[in-house]
Each structure stands twice: as C-alpha cells, then as structure tokens.
Symmetry: D3
Subunit: 243 residues, 6 copies
C-alpha cells in the first residue's frame, strides 16, 4: 500500500554517523531513508542577553536546507535576505524539544547551538533533525564532562521524534515525501524516554481527523520513537558517549 | 485555584462584536476576557502566483500585536524590519485553520485575507484570532452571496479554537496570561463542528505530559469549543449572517 | 457644499476615550468622525544612546495603520520589511510636536513612547494622532506624579493639531478622506495653548496657494484647535488628570 | 549679528553650474555658500505601475549625502541597508515640489528622476536641492524639445526654495549650519514665479513661533526666492535653455 | 617545513565523489584534504531577465558555508539577513570561472546554477568549489545530452583552480587553513586545459610580492591544476560522463 | 586603434585636486580622463570591535556610485536596501590595498575610513579610487602629524593602481569604458613604490589569456603606475604634504 512497500508501522532505514565533521563539539549525520541531515552542536561560553548573570545556560537551534536538497531547487534563504516562516517554525521546535532534555542551570553560563542542515530531503526533515540533534548534543555534553568543564551531567532525558499520518485512510509511521504530499493528516511527535510527550503538532491537510485516528497515530509514534531511541543509544555507545 | 477564580472548565467572558470597523468586507472585535483582537476579512479578486489560472481561491492570514498590547512595550515589527518567528508561526496557523472551513474551488479566483491585530493581550491571542477570524470570514462570504458574486456558499464547516493546559497539576481551559506563564503544558486545539481536529499543538513547558493528561486536556477543549461555536452562531445571527 | 454637509468651519464629531487599553501608562481612543486612532504612552526608565548620562528624558513616537483601516487593504509594513516614507514622516512629526509640550530635563532619564495605531482611517490621521497623543502623554505624566516618581510637572503647554485645506476654492477645517482626495491644498497645523505655532506643513496638491488663502486657513486652524483643546481638557478632567 | 556677517535678508553666494556631469540629460552643481549639491535629471521612457497606460508622465526625486559631506562622518545609508526618515522626507518634498512645475500629461509616458547628492553640507541642503533640481529638470525638458520628442513645453512654472528662521529673536534668510543649529524656528518655503506657495514647512525647534514671526519669515522667503529665480534664469540662459 | 609535512609542490589528498546527492542534475562532493564542499548543478528552463529572448543560456553560482564548517561557529547568513562581501565575491568568481568553460549560446535558454556549500573548511574552499563545480556542471550537461535536450556539447574547455602562496618565504601549492593564516601572499588561479588563465587573484597579506615570486607561484599553480584536471577526468569517467 | 586615439601605453589625462571638500581630514577629486571620483579620508578615535584594546589602528573603505554617474541611471543602493556584490568587492579591494601602505600599529587606536564616491564613470573607477585614496590618506596622516597627534609617520610606502587589458588582441593601459566593454581580458594591478605587487586581479572576459599576454600587461601596468605615482607626489607637494 505504501509507495515504498513498507508496512504501516515500519520506520525507514535509520543511520546515525557520529563525528561526521571535525570542528564541532558534537556532530552527526542522521539519515531517515533518503532524508539526510547534518546536525552539529557548538558550545560557546556566553548566554543570550536575557539570561546574563542568571547562572543558567541555553540551548538554541538553527535549521536550513541546501538549495538543491529538494526535487526542485529552492531559493537560498541567505540570498533572499530572510528565513521563511517554515524555517523559523522548525528551528523553534527543535530548540524547545532539546531544552526539554537538559537542565539548563546545570549547564552553567554556556550556549549550545544545534545547527541542522538538510543535505537531502525526502520528508521528515524536522523529526530527523530533532533525533539527530539529541545525539550531537549528547556528544558535546560528553566532551564537557570529559574535559571536566562540567561536574555533573545536565542531560536528564532522551529525546527523539517521528512523524505519523493518515495516508489513504490508514495510519502510518515515518512518512516519506511522496506519502507526506498525499497525506490527509500529518503529525509530528516528540517524546522522552519516559514515554511522555514533549511536543505534539498535528495538522489536518485534507479532512479533519477524528479522535480514534489520533489515538492510532499516537500509538504508532510511541513505538517508532522507542526504536529511534535504540538507534541513538547504539550510535552513542559506538562513539564512546553512552547515556 | 485559578488566579481569576474560574473553575477548570470555565471559559473567560466571550464577546464577538460584528462590523467593528467599516471598510473591511467582514470585521469583528473578539474578546476572550481581557484579550481583545480585531479580525478583518478583506476580499481581493486575485490569487497568489501559485494558484493563477487554476480556478481556485485562497485564504491567508496576517497577525500583529500593537506594541503596547502587552505588559511591557514590545518593539514594533515594522520598525525592526521583520516579523518574528512567533508571528509567522501564528499567522500560518490561522491561515491553515480557516482554509479547513471552506471549499477553495467554490470561492473562485479570489483571496480573502484575515488580519488579526491584537489590541490588548492577556493570553490566548491565537485561539481568539482563529475564533474571531471564522466570524469575519463568514461575514465576508455572506456579503459575496448577497451581492450574488457567489452562487453557493463555499463554507462547509464551522471552526473555533481554544487553549488548554496543565496548571499546578490540574487540566484547565482557556488560559489567561498569568496561567500561561506558569503552565507546565500549553496546548492549542482547533476543531470543526463535527467534533474533529483541524490542528493540535501541544508543548510541554515544564515537564513532559503523559497520555492521561493529554486525554483530559482534549476533553476540556472539546467542551470549550462547543461553547465558543454557540457564541459565534449567536453573533452571526445578530449580524444577519446566520450559518 | 462639503460632502458631509458640514460648514467650512465645522470640526467632525470629536471623541476622546481615556484608559482605552489597560497595560499602557496612558491610553486613549481618539475619534475625529470616522477616523479612529489608539494612542498609548509607554514609560521606560532609559534614554536613547545620544542622551545617556545627560540628565534629560526623551519623547518619541511611532505610527502605524492596520492593513484594513483603509478602503482598500494596504500591505502590512511589518511583512514588507520596512516602514514607508509617509509613516516615518508622520511619526517624526508626532514626536517633534509632543516634545514641544514638555520640559525634557524635568522628565528625568526616562523615555515616553507614543504609539499611534490607526484602527479606521477617514482622513486626518496625523492630526488625530497628535491630539490624542497629548492626552495619552498627560495621563502617563499624571501617573508619574501620583506615584511620586516625578516631583514637578514637566508639561508646560497643551498641544493639539488639525488639518485645513482649500476645497473647491473654499477654505475648510478638518478634512475627511473625500475632501482630502479632492483638495487643492492641504495643511496640517500644530499649535500650543498660547496660540503659537509648533508646526505648519502646507502642501499645494493642485495649484499653488496664495497668501490670502494661507491667512484664511490659519484662521480656521486656530479656531479649530481651540475647540480640540477644550475636548482634551474635558476628557482629562473626566479621567481625573486635569492639566 | 549673523556668524557669517550677513544681513538678515542676505542670501549666501549662489552658484549654478550647468552640465556639471556628462551622462545625465540635465545636470547642475548648485552652491548655496558652502553647501554643494549635484542635481541630475534622468529621463526614462516608462512610468511607475500606478500610471501605466494612463497617458501621464511622472517626476520623482532621490536624495543622498556623501558620508563625509558633514562635519562628522555619517554612516552610509547603502551600507546600513535603508534610507533614514529624514532622507525619505526630503526626497518626497523635492518630488512634490517639482511636480508642481510641470504638466505631467504633457510630459507623455516618461519618468524624470531628480537625483540630489550632497557633496558638502552647510545647512539648507533641501532648499538648494529643490532650486538646483528645477534647473536640471529644465535642461532635460529642453533636450526633449530640441530632439522633438516633445512638441510643447510641459513646464508651466518656475520653482525655487529657500529656508528662513528665527535666530536670536531675529527673522533671517537662508540659514547656514551654525545658524540652523541654534535657530528657534526653521521654515522651508517653496514658491513659484507667480508668488504663490507650493510648500511651507515650519518647525519650532525652541519655542513656538507667533503669527507676526511667521509673517516676517514669509516676507523674507518671498524676496529670497525672487533672487534665486533670477540666478536660475541666468544660469539657464547661459546654458542655452532659457525658460 | 609545511605544518602538514607536504612538499611545497604537493596538493592535498584530492577526492571527487560524483552523484553525492540524488535530486540535482549534477552533484559531487569535492575534498581537498579536510576541506569538503558539496557542489550541485541545477538546470532550469529559464534565463535571467537581461537574457530573455536572446537565445543564450546562463551559468550562475551561489556559495555558502555551514555555520560550523569552521573552527569557531560563524553566524548563519540567512539569519543575519544578508550574504557577506566575502560570500558575494566568491560566488561571483565561481560563476565567471565556469562561464569560461561553456558556450552559452549552445546551452539554449537554460540556466544552470552551481551551489557550492562548504561542509567542512580547512582553507581553499573557493578553489575546491570551482574544481568541483566543473565536475557537477559536466554531469548536468551530460544528462542534457543523454536526454537529447541538447544536440551538441556546449562545453569547450576544462576548468580547475588551485591556490598558491608565499609561506615563510617559500612558494607553496594548495594552502591549508594554517598556512593560509600565516601566508605573506595568497593567490587563487583558475586555468583551462590549454594552460591559459581564466582568473588570477593575488593578494599580498604581509609584504608586497616581487615579480620572481609571482613567476614561481604561477609555475606551481600550472602544475597543480594539471593534476586536478586528471582527478576530474578520472571521476567523470568513473561516473560515465567522460569529457 | 584605441577609440580615444591613445597609444597602447598611454594613460588618460590624470588630475588630482587636493582639499576638494572641507570637512574631511583628507579629500581629493581624482580624474582619470572622464572618470571622476571624490575620495575622502575620515579619522575617528576608535577601532572596530575585533581590534579593541590591541593597540592597533584600522583602515577601511567604502565605495559608491551616484545613480547617474553612468550612461544609464542605476538604482540607488541605499534605496534598494543593500550594496551589490560589485560594490562590496571593490571596497574590500580598496581597503586591503591601502592597509598595505601603512603600519597599523603606528597609527594608534584610530580608524581612517576612505570614502570613494564616483561622480562620473568612464571605466577604471576602482583604480582611480585606490590612486586617489592614497592621496586622501596621506593628507589625513599629514594633519595628524602636524597636530602632533602622531609622532612618527605610519606610512611606509606609496600605493597606486591602474587597469590593463587585451583589446582587439593588443595589450593596452588604463582602459576607458568603451575599451573595457569590448576587452578580452581586464586586469587591475595595485603596486607599491618598490615595484612590488599588492594586488593582481585578472579576469578573462572573452578567451583565456596566455602567459606572454600576462607578461605584457604587467609591464604596461608597472610603467603606468610609475607615472601615477609622480602625479600623486606632485599633487601632495602642491598641497604641502610631501611624502
């Protein structure tokens, strides 16, 4: 039924390549099938003005797509002179989601910026970005601990994200671009390792969705996120930064 | 328990003043307690480039806050030279929600722009904007029907929106500013008159929310939106534009 | 002769509703007939860089029109990414006019920002804005005096403004939109309560105006401004902030 | 009494050098004492969108200051990414003033752009710009007539401008920078050769000005503008483009 | 002598991975040592306004760096709202260089946009971008030929680029970041396969360079570019797109 | 052979008018034939953030063209809201070139900004700007020495610049606009008085240039720059600021 031949509850092939670039304190290439995003975590020893002198750190995120990460070339946001509404919305979502993983006071007066740059897009770039950013953030925090710049681990939870939707009347997990274009409903779910919700953003594209459809989608999301968390733990363990 | 003395399932005082300004094809002042928003619907006989020649209309929305609608004066977005991420996010949400109320083909090659300008803010400006915009949109469509510029009513559903949240551990309806600032979870729900969901946007501000909390919030939202729809019908009937 | 049936020396119906919104230190809804403007005065305990440490305060103004305050919807300046020349010119005029009412040294190192937002436009928005801003400013200063944050009243004059013009060859007072569109000359006059001029801005739209026309217009303006000042005093007295 | 030793009714040394640059259809270097402005008139065979197909031409103006035309270096507007309010206000004034000199229908579907670039500033740059722009415009129109691209002269009047003010209590003509900085009132007057007013912009910098002061300033302006018009006629005659 | 242990005339390890992403008509990952750039070529069937209807195609380029491609995180140009001078300079250079490889008339009314996005920076990003862009452009042209959208190959030359410099008094080839930071002179050379120069941009960072130093640098560049061209031919042959 | 009748190795008529404007610490009108540029040097007692507290000064440059300095009117960069890539590239080049003339430490914590504004363009505006800027800079430094704000002269070299190119197959010196438009190669060379190169920027417009063509162009440039330096010395000597 699905264009890719997947079962409704199948994730795409997931890959998390740690230390993908060398300069960032944490970096990972995350792949959800053909969707590929570079996530880097950059540590800076300063905080935004609204936090100055309050003894708290900050996590923020920026998101971008290479102009030809998509089927048709998109205009480059730097050349157009501003980031679009979709970009701002996604980077605000990534930032909020990751702040839910970490005790900002325990981080000290530092900012960690998560840059999520989409190299190739095939649907689900925001959920891949959140899932990858958690890994990059963990790598950066691990480095601070190893360098003894932090005494205690400020991370208090694991965060991952996946999309679910209603496609041809059937609830499905982890939509690719073709499915996303035709879906009646599209929902992005961010959860922690206690099975609680950090963000739910559901949008009816075609017709409004009913309560039983919502329940089915949430069940798929919960199972999918558990799988993604196993991938995160494996990748981090292989990189010597177990959580 | 609530700062305002309301019960958990109480809306604030709701008021919808139709024909609040004279130039717009549809206009309404919507009040959710001390939150006051002017919503206008403007009809133009052209569509955005991506719809040209396709025989379909378009609904779009813009949102703004007067600089001193808030406790502290905010910088004016026009003076800063760009709309912030929150503004873009809200106006995208309003536009999507209202498009779910209407058959765009039946509208013909017209654009209806919903302008939501917050005169005074006390929490819930986006849900008030959506609820008011539906009324302004209906007034504008009614005028097109009366002028025989439209033969059939393109509206196929009623749309309203309310916020729900977890405040001091209790699920509550229609958060005001004080509650919103302290809420552990904040969720905006947009529904239609068939009781189905158009948008759900839930964010854990403090700790992640559990499934039973989600269920309780959705129940509150459903009841609140039913009440709001009665207010919408009453206001429209009084303005001679029953739906 | 006038489209509204007014005599050449008639103002429109004037209304000044004090405390129109609740957050601002001073707020008023000013109505010159169908022209409606919300004026708020916001006090901040800092001054612009060029005044830092000089023991002087500052008065500044910002002006905006809701997109559908006009007959045709105008593009939103925040969305276009800049304020137009007309907007900048008007807000500079409002700021200069109000600074003429007040001793900036006596204000102390504070900035009062006057926000004038046009809810509905029917000509004369800048003169209504100045007239309303004086009321909002007085309310804000009154609050500082009442809170004993100021010992002496820094206001040393009353300021109001009205437009005059030549319409079908006849000098008239307080032009509405229809008159303004057809006027041969349009002049905005700002005066103080000593009958002296703070600003005169006269523009020949059709043919240049002669000295005797200028004299007739100035006479109309003087009488109109006296009437407006009586309205200001009444509104302030009713709000408990007599000048 | 005046820092320059001039009498109250003296203009500074006026010079108008026609054909100052070679590419523009009309160009002039205008000097009011140490204030030097290059004015060019550029003809283009198209009109702005709002005039397309209406058989009318357009006159518009742009104004700029070289960064070091002033005592202290100012930031370059191109580098700051926008023109300031003062610049926009001045170029709107120049455009309106020159449109009053010419029958736009008789110009045909053409735009003439007047660029006024201040090489050196010593007060009165806007009045010098208007006075010089009239000369550049006339040169450009003369060329159209000579090339038989126009059959009849669309110019129907001569336009010039000067500043007047109250300095140490005395009305004076054509303020230089030192006088302008200390003036209690500053007024820019634009007149035509019939002695009628095209623009009057008077601003009380210190205290409000009284009616008799206004009258004295207008008398000075009238005499000064007559002198400026003689300079314009001489310069144009010398350039073979008499009016 | 060189920090990397290379001889003065050694290139870094060069790699060109064709078809690195799937959506673009041509794509390559180019590596000059630790410098990694994704180059994509996107074909669009339209030309910029200045070429419309002239029967000629166009080649243009855009360049960007991921915020954490560098040692310290740089601000994202899209977030800052404009591309910096360095970025504009580099993308103009890439565009000019590639236009020298191809007959624009033979391309037909098409635009090929080369996007060069730096994933990781270690010096020489502009020379890597030009060298990689030639490969991406060739892949895109090859596809047009294979699809019979082009009858004849519009490419008439091979283009590659390398940097040379004077480091501690010695002329060296292909500077990495450490060398670049300390070099007295830095020169970027773009050549074609006939051994002629397309661009030479030499800058004295420390002291001015003498004629014999220039000669030595040009000799190194010529030899380095020959080697790079062999890498280009090998990569294209392996990808089935020999030139 | 050349449109102007010049020999291949002839400069245009060169003029350097010192003290062209009165406010700047150094100013000059530089003319290369019909190309006329005002160069001013402005001294400010502060440095950019990256140099604060390092005991070093800074030289920077800005470049602009009056809208009608060219054959066709160009849009004003201040009105378009940004400086184009060509402008940024040229001002970066001017800044780098002049920094090569001066010991920044010896300048002390000062910034000298060179503003190059093109009054009339006929090719070679960037080389005229560099050549004129050296004179303006020297005048400004001379004033600092005379005022004893500097003890030792921080200038350690003389800098001038000229263009060379291949026109109809022949190497020529100092291209005017007509030659520049048709040239096959265009190269800008900046040298010091020791005959060494500060910048070489050569671009093949038509076909790539060969080594012997490069050699011939460099020989022409060297001779031309010697002549320009004599003009610089003469102008400075006449202005009482010998180097």
């Amino acid at each position: 039924m699905r264009p890719s031949g997947r079962n409704p509850n199948d994730l795409r092939k997931i890959a998390l390549t740690c230390h993908y670039t060398r300069h960032a304190e944490g970096s990972v290439l995350v792949e959800f099938g053909d969707t590929r995003v570079i996530c880097t975590a950059s540590i800076e020893d300063r905080v935004p003005p609204f936090l100055k002198g309050k003894g708290s750190g900050w996590i923020t995120a920026e998101y971008g797509m290479l102009p030809r990460s998509t089927h048709e070339r998109m205009g480059r946001e730097a050349a157009r002179g501003k980031q679009g509404g979709r970009t701002l919305e996604i980077q605000r979502l990534i930032g909020r989601s990751l702040r839910a993983a970490l005790n900002l006071e325990a981080l000290g007066e530092r900012t960690i910026t998560l840059d999520c740059d989409v190299i190739q897009a095939d649907g689900g770039t925001r959920t891949a970005s959140i899932t990858g950013s958690f890994v990059a953030l963990t790598l950066a925090v691990h480095r601070l601990l190893k360098q003894k710049r932090l005494k205690a681990n400020p991370l208090h939870g694991q965060i991952a994200s996946v999309s679910v939707g209603i496609y041809k009347g059937i609830p499905i997990l982890d939509l690719d671009y073709k499915e996303d274009s035709d879906a009646e409903t599209d929902m992005n779910v961010v959860m922690n390792d206690a099975g609680a919700y950090v963000e739910i953003q559901g949008t009816a594209e075609g017709h409004a969705f009913r309560r039983e459809e919502l329940d089915a989608m949430l069940a798929l999301a919960g199972a999918g996120i558990s799988e993604l968390m196993a991938h995160q733990r494996d990748a981090l363990a292989a990189a010597g930064a177990s959580i």
